[in-house]
Amino acid sequence: MYVAAKVEVEKCTGCKLCILSCPEPNVLRYLPETKQVAVNQQRCKGCGLCVTVCSKDALTVSSI
């Protein structure tokens, strides 16, 4: 897709709120080793729902 979400690793606390708000399957994944969230940018449609639910401002949507 042309735009996609991006995680700022310094701010992400791994609360997983974004994963429950994403309409796309298998795009946001929880990494148990770092206790953070990772985005599959190839499949993200850039709707920005994860950005609106993140209380730590750890997510942004930008062009890739």
Binding site: L20, P23, N26, L28, R29, C47, G48, L49, V61
Partner: protein
């Protein structure tokens, strides 16, 4: 379905697509998964053509994660937006002529009960508001009157979304749409209230802004339908494309609806309440 069916023989393992390999290795089939575990396992819903920020696709994703035993679940659907996300999912899915989903589900459930008398085969109807409240209303109500042991889940986006925005019976009064320029002239069909008096033993009305409630309602509805009778879950899934709001506002719209016309509500009979308390 036995999990053996999805496990490839060694000779073919190298030829399978990456998504399939992940599904076999990290799919939700062997261990019990729930909505809270999303992000830690490979989901049975695959990439789909829903619009960005689509409430319907979020609803499908949540309900698929909440299925108590996805390998033994048969989903029956009907044309509409809900169909796009479900056709390429890794579970048994049957599409029907528009509005016939509850009649087809009745036949499938009865057949599965004869063929597999000792296994719970869950037959779940997942359809939009057009399929359940407008064109399929008679067949839906009759399946409830007959006390068929099936779960009906409505993904209510309050519009015929994939045909360009016609008003549906579940649209709100006064709602202006692409093909209803003067606004809808009558109020929303009270399907949830009809479920209470038509024989449903369990029902819940939720929105996608409360994912854990969606998961709990879907799981309860399927488990109760195995033992007692018809169950109904109505999920509000707002449509950014036809309701003309930005795609990142879907959850805000759903949250506002929770305070207004889509308050959380659950009903169940006394024996169902006792059964759920025992689980």
């Amino acid at each position: 379905m036995s999990t053996k069916i999805i496990t490839p023989v060694d000779e073919f393992a190298d030829f399978l697509p990456q998504e399939y390999k992940e599904l076999v290795a990290r799919g939700p089939y062997r261990e019990r998964r729930s909505v809270e575990d999303l992000g830690t396992f490979k989901e049975i819903i695959e990439e789909h053509p829903h619009c960005a920020g689509c409430g319907v696709s979020l609803g499908i994703r949540l309900l698929a994660a909440a299925l108590p035993s996805p390998e033994d679940t048969l989903i029956v659907g009907t044309p509409g937006c809900s169909f796009f996300g479900l056709v390429q999912a890794a579970l048994n899915y049957s599409n029907t002529a528009f509005g016939n989903q509850n009649a087809v589900a009745t036949g499938l459930k009865r057949m599965l009960q004869i063929r597999f008398p000792h296994v719970h085969k869950d037959v779940v109807v997942v359809a939009g508001d057009g399929g359940i409240a407008d064109i399929g209303l008679d067949l839906t109500l009759h399946s409830w009157f007959r006390r068929e042991k099936i779960t009906t889940i409505m993904l209510d986006n309050e519009v015929y979304a994939n045909t360009g925005g016609q008003e549906s019976g579940m649209s709100r009064q006064g709602q202006v749409l692409n093909m209803a320029p003067q606004g809808k002239r009558f109020s929303k069909i009270p399907v949830f209230e009809m479920a209470k008096v038509s024989g449903c033993v369990y029902g819940a009305r939720v929105t996608v802004a409360s994912p854990r409630k969606v998961g709990r309602a879907v799981r309860n509805a399927i488990l109760v339908a195995r033992e007692f009778g018809p169950t109904y879950v109505q999920i509000f899934t707002p449509c950014p494309t036809n309701m003309k709001f930005p795609p990142n506002q879907t959850l805000k719209v759903a949250k506002e609806a929770e305070k207004d016309h889509y308050t959380y509500e659950e009903f169940m009979s006394a024996e169902v309440a006792a059964y759920l308390a025992r689980l």
